[in-house]
Amino acid sequence: MTSFTRRIALTAVAAAALASLPAFAAEKVNLGVSIPAATHSFMGGINYWANQAKKDLEKEHKDLKITIKTAANAPEQANQLQDLSTVTKINALVVFPFESAALTKPVAQVKAKGAYVTVVDRGLTDTSAQDAYVAGDNTAFGRIPAEYIAKQLGGKGNVVALRGIATTLDNERMDAFNAVLKNYPDIKLLDAKYANWNRDDAFKVTQDYLTRFKNIDAIWAADDDMAVGVLKAIEQAKRDDIKIIFGGAGAKGMVKTIMDGKDKRIGADVSYSPKFIYDAIKLTAEARLKGEKLPATTIIPSVLITKENAKDFYHPNSPF
């Protein structure tokens, strides 16, 4: 992607050199972006990266206009999609749907009016309503921590897990985690309870895990926000049996901890960065400017973050 950026920059320089020539008649791209409002850190990150994409891309391409709308719930998002289509007259759309089912029809309508549609993260129930799909990898989000924990524990030990909110996305992660642990009969998953991707709930659930289980080797916090609560609960109980705490998503605080090697219990994380909205907007805008199409499905891979590659995932300016 960087080489691509460089090429664009070179083209811009060349264009500036030939400033006397009239610009070639490329079609203007009016891109609409529809995302959920920043109600928690991850969505805060989504908002940050969407705005970052607008800033970077509009500066780079004269023929591109990006309009970002944030919605607090699914009906509001449906209304905004209508507005984007009829008032703003977009010809390309990047949408992060609140819910799959409720937004399938509204997105289909935008597409019916001729806009090119890229759906991010949550797939629609009817895939014919989208041209392209860009998403993070939830299976890897569960598989990678399980593999890491199993390896670090040498295939033997007690593990507890936290879960997010009961959704298909959370189930996919948990199933992937369990699937790996099946290969290690000596690793016991003691329990997995919901803590709602919330620091306070994670604190309480962990306190109770610590009361209930006298020997825990690893905690899969399954989210960097929840890991904050987990750490505080362990600190309070003064327990030193826990060797591994594994979060998820790659929040900047957690990545920094890994980068600096500050906590030996936190040696790794798995990426699920809100930056994929940036990639989705960039891919869509640049493909449309050239009149090209995106592949039907683009999975932004979730990868293991360790001390070696942590700096690639550290974005100090992002709220996430």
């Binding site: 920043a38 805060g44 919901y194 620091r199 926000d225 609560g229 992002s318 709220p319 996430f320």
Partner: protein, 341 residues
């Protein structure tokens, strides 16, 4: 509802009279239902997991209850006076965020981290009182329904926190956080600080409600506002004060909350309002106002956190059903208490 005869005898003495012998009796009776529920739950919890009945676990549960419990004590006044406040969770979140930003700024600026933390704690209470005052004024002088006013501020407070936090989290700087931590994590005579504060707030609340003229006015307004007005009670002032009291309670709860995680995010304090209201009602206070008890509220708050504690300590039922268990217990306890009202 108060009996009709009262309306025809607009005597302040009558109200005072009732107020004087009422507390002891009703408080006992109202308190009994939740207490029975709590005792049964604790027996059940011990049978399911012997770790439940340890001192450490009891302290964990009481410490976590402290936030909701302290808020519920304030909420008790508001509900008894016939009002409601839906905004407490958002208010706590905004206060937490503001205090964190203030301490982060004041720490280096004033040169004395300790001073910054102390001033931050004071700021929490002051902000709470101010927000409460705003609610009270809008409700009494502005004559807007409390439900609407606080529904409005529920959105406003949380939106501002999200704005300040840029959608992410506000986090206390590390050394300041260490300095502040004892407020949540330290113990006095083996009992964590938040539990002490909870006890003190509850006792003060009980005294104000049952032993002062102000407490009786609150109950009188809740049972019949018109009669209270005839009885020369300054209804507006009393009502405004209930919201200020609640605001102060939220401030105190927040100043205990901030050192726990040292951070505030848009999910901080989510649904605390419902937990606080549930604690008050489970504790035997009538949602329509007029009568209620602080003891019951305290027991109600503890009961709610004991349920989730027991659920976390066992895995006999599917995690998908946790919320249902909570719902069943709340309804059963409310039923027990109804029989004795």
């Amino acid at each position: 509802m108060p009996p009709e005869p009262q309306t025809s005898t607009p005597q302040p003495e009558a109200a005072q009279h009732r107020g004087e012998n009422k507390p002891r009796w009703t408080e006992r009776l109202h308190g009994l239902g939740p207490v029975i529920g709590l005792v049964l739950l604790c027996i059940g919890g011990t049978l399911l997991n012997s770790d439940f009945a340890t001192v450490d676990n009891a302290m964990n549960v009481l410490t976590r209850t402290a936030f909701i419990g302290i808020i519920a004590v304030g909420m008790c006044f508001v509900i008894i006076s016939g009002g409601i406040d839906l905004s407490v969770g958002s208010m706590a979140a905004l206060i937490a965020g503001s205090v964190i930003m203030f301490i982060n700024w004041a720490g280096p600026a004033s040169g004395s981290p300790l001073m910054a933390v102390v001033m931050g704690a004071v700021l929490a209470v002051v902000l709470g009182a101010l927000f409460g005052l705003a609610h009270g004024l809008l409700i009494t002088k502005g004559r807007i329904e409390p439900f609407i006013v606080t529904l409005g501020t529920l959105g406003i407070f949380r939106a501002y926190l999200t704005y300040f936090a840029d959608g992410g989290a506000l986090t206390l700087d590390n050394d300041l956080s260490d300095l502040y931590a004892p407020v949540y994590y330290a113990s006095l005579a083996g009992i964590p600080v938040p539990v002490w504060v909870f006890v003190v707030v509850a006792i003060i609340g009980g005294v104000i409600l049952n032993r002062t003229a102000y407490g009786r006015y609150v109950q009188a307004i809740g049972s019949n506002e018109q009669v209270a007005r005839y009885a020369a009670v300054d209804v507006d002032r009393v009502k405004i004060l209930t919201y200020v009291l609640l605001g102060v309670c939220v401030g105190i709860a927040t100043l205990l909350y901030v050192p726990r995680l040292g951070s505030a995010s848009p999910t901080t304090g989510l649904l605390w309002e419902l937990e606080a209201i549930a604690a008050v009602i489970v504790g035997g206070t009538a949602l329509k106002g007029g009568a209620g008890s602080i003891t019951g509220t305290v027991v109600g708050a503890i009961l709610l956190s004991v349920i989730s504690n027991i659920l976390n300590l066992t895995s006999i039922i599917s995690v998908y059903l946790n919320a249902a268990v909570q719902g069943f217990v709340i309804i059963i306890v409310a039923f027990l208490q109804r029989g004795r009202r």
